[in-house]
Subunit: 355 residues, 2 copies
DNA sequence: CTGAAAGCGCTAACAC
DNA sequence: GTGTTAGCGCTTTCAG
């Protein structure tokens, strides 16, 4: 059992420096009104004693908890982990979010929340009161969940919404990864390769970004004078099976599309399989672009040309804003939504259309 | 800024149930001496009010923090995340550890610690005093780091060591994934396929498990009457480059090994490349078995026969023991080290030796 | 079996 | 500028 008392507390430092607790606290928190002299003296004691404040006590004292909570969909996340398909969304969130948190002395905690359950409110509410995070990051498909947003609003906890434009006016820091622009990037790449029949496998409707990607596809198709016919659009559910169905439907069309954009890697893999089963060569007979650029995109045959989603960077941005916001660093009110653009990584699955 | 006061506290529940704070606390903590009647009444109030205790306050009160800290190597972990090679060690730790924590009302927090730096002690020490975790999980290559172990001992924080036999007597709960047995499994599989020249690419020396795998290889080779010659053993560093060097060395030997076991997937991929560059067919001319079975093992051509490391299960086990130990559930003193065995997943990279 | 008191380490609010 | 005083919400004593 961890001992009840802490080794070196603020009291020890105060005594050692010959000042009051409050002064030490002030130094720790970088409060303006401290004489440089005092500051140095206290800091010296802190360093000598190796004092580190207890975040539990800090929270109890009424200030920050130094915890940022990252909410992810339980079912999907656990499935991704169990299936071991190489989805590294969580890793990228940690890479960006956790390291940024560390820079500011914060910790990032992952919390899995079940949406399907109507306990969302109870479940998330419990986590919030137990942890009392200083900020919350919500990820798709939760980023626009009104229940969650309302709860956060009610508790006055700052939150960032990844994959949301925040157009609903439900508050929070809105960040997107430029889904529409990314889709356009994919279409442009294919159009420039001479493709005219460019199919699109959309993501499920409960992800707002699914719609944006479709929008981008439509817009860019139009820009190139191409017909974004309904028959060129199928919807998947981000799974291999869903991708298989969608790819089959798309490739059964006449005229057959010469290129397909899949809204995530899993569905792209499925498309690869379907093409192969149909005797179609990729990229000879069919060019393929996917979204996400998870690790396996490099390992398929051929490797996948893919839209890289800047998950780490977006998470880092979210953390940064959350922390500076609640610190009152209202430097420049950032325009919403914040847009972190992805990029197109060209690999082996795309080639010039046969003429 | 999060409000200073909590919505519903233990006080409210006490008043609502018409009992003292203490009684509520007792009910919450399942302390023996409470009359069933009382218990029911209090529980009813808790439920009605939706009371959830603040973990910060719980910790302040002198009890648990409900936090388990998982220590990972900073450099390696960040590199894995940035390289996006599909290493899902952290994900599997979370899958097993976090879900098990959740079952007990605990949270798992990942902490990246830099070993190379001699600040280990300061760095980890700071995390420990800031967070005051109820338990710590140490992962390779830290599991046997005497500095870390001493620190944990000194602070009397229960800890679990993944990938350690605990033979050093430095305390803690020792868990291994049966590295020796797994290596034997790999050798046996190959021997049964008729291979006699079975090369081994070991992991770096700072990972204890590297040695165990070599031991397993040696032992099983002997068992099958095969010569574990020094020329059949090369050391890599778990990277692709290191694997490349090792594979080249191995495949330059005369007689050339007909099978190779690589201590992780990255080095196996490298071996695949080297073989291909040498015009060797896998598994026709060379059989290959790897360790880890990360997601990409299924995606190479051919797919990799691999040892699956039960990371999730091991992490779950560690959490379980940590929690029950510090709860004083000294039911049956588990024999150390705890051994969670992996399994061999046979895929396309192994075949019968040419006779 | 239950209650009352004291205190955990820290910070906000107010004095000086 | 700095010190003093009250808590924060909970649990551990210790009484009854």
């Amino acid at each position: 059992m961890a001992q009840r008392k802490q080794a070196v507390t603020i009291k020890h430092v105060a005594r050692d420096a010959g000042v009051s607790l409050q002064t030490v606290s002030r130094v720790m928190n970088n409060v303006p009104n401290v004489s440089p002299e005092m500051k140095r003296r206290v800091q010296a004691s802190i360093d000598r004693l190796g004092y580190v404040p207890s975040i539990a006590a800090q929270r109890m004292g009424g200030s920050r908890s130094y915890i940022i909570l990252a909410i992810n969909d339980r079912e999907r996340t656990i499935a991704d982990w169990q299936l071991r398909q190489g989805t590294d969304w969580v890793d990228q969130m940690l890479l960006g979010g956790m390291t940024k948190c560390a820079e500011h002395g914060y910790r990032m905690l992952i919390e899995l929340v079940d949406t399907h359950n109507d306990h969302v409110e109870r479940e998330l509410g419990a986590a919030l009161t137990a942890l009392q995070p200083d900020g919350v990051i919500i990820t798709p498909p939760h980023s626009d969940n009104p229940q969650i947003l309302a709860l956060l609003q009610a508790r006055a906890i700052p939150f960032a919404r990844i994959g949301s434009t925040g157009a609903d006016g439900l508050g929070g820091i809105a960040l997107t990864m430029d889904d529409e622009g990314s889709a356009r990037l994919a279409v442009r790449h294919l159009a420039e390769l001479g493709h005219r029949q460019i199919g699109f496998i959309a993501g499920p409707a409960d992800y707002q970004l699914s719609g944006w990607r479709v929008d981008g596809w439509r817009a860019e198709m139009a820009l190139h004078g191409l017909d974004a016919a309904d028959s060129l659009l199928e919807t998947g559910d981000f799974t291999f099976e869903g991708g298989t169905r969608a790819a089959r439907a798309l490739l059964a069309c006449e005229p057959r599309p010469t290129a397909i954009i899949a809204s995530n890697d899993q569905m792209a893999f499925a498309t690869l399989e379907v093409a192969s089963a149909l005797g179609l060569d990729v990229p000879g007979d069919l060019s393929l672009v996917s979204f996400d650029n998870t690790p396996m995109a490099r390992f398929t045959r051929p490797s996948l040309t893919a839209i890289d989603q800047p998950v780490a960077e977006t998470a880092a941005r979210a953390v940064d804003l959350l922390i500076s916001q609640q610190r009152g660093d209202d430097a420049d009110p950032v325009p919403m939504p914040i847009n972190v653009s992805g990029s197109l990584v060209v690999r082996g699955s795309t080639a010039a259309a046969k003429s």
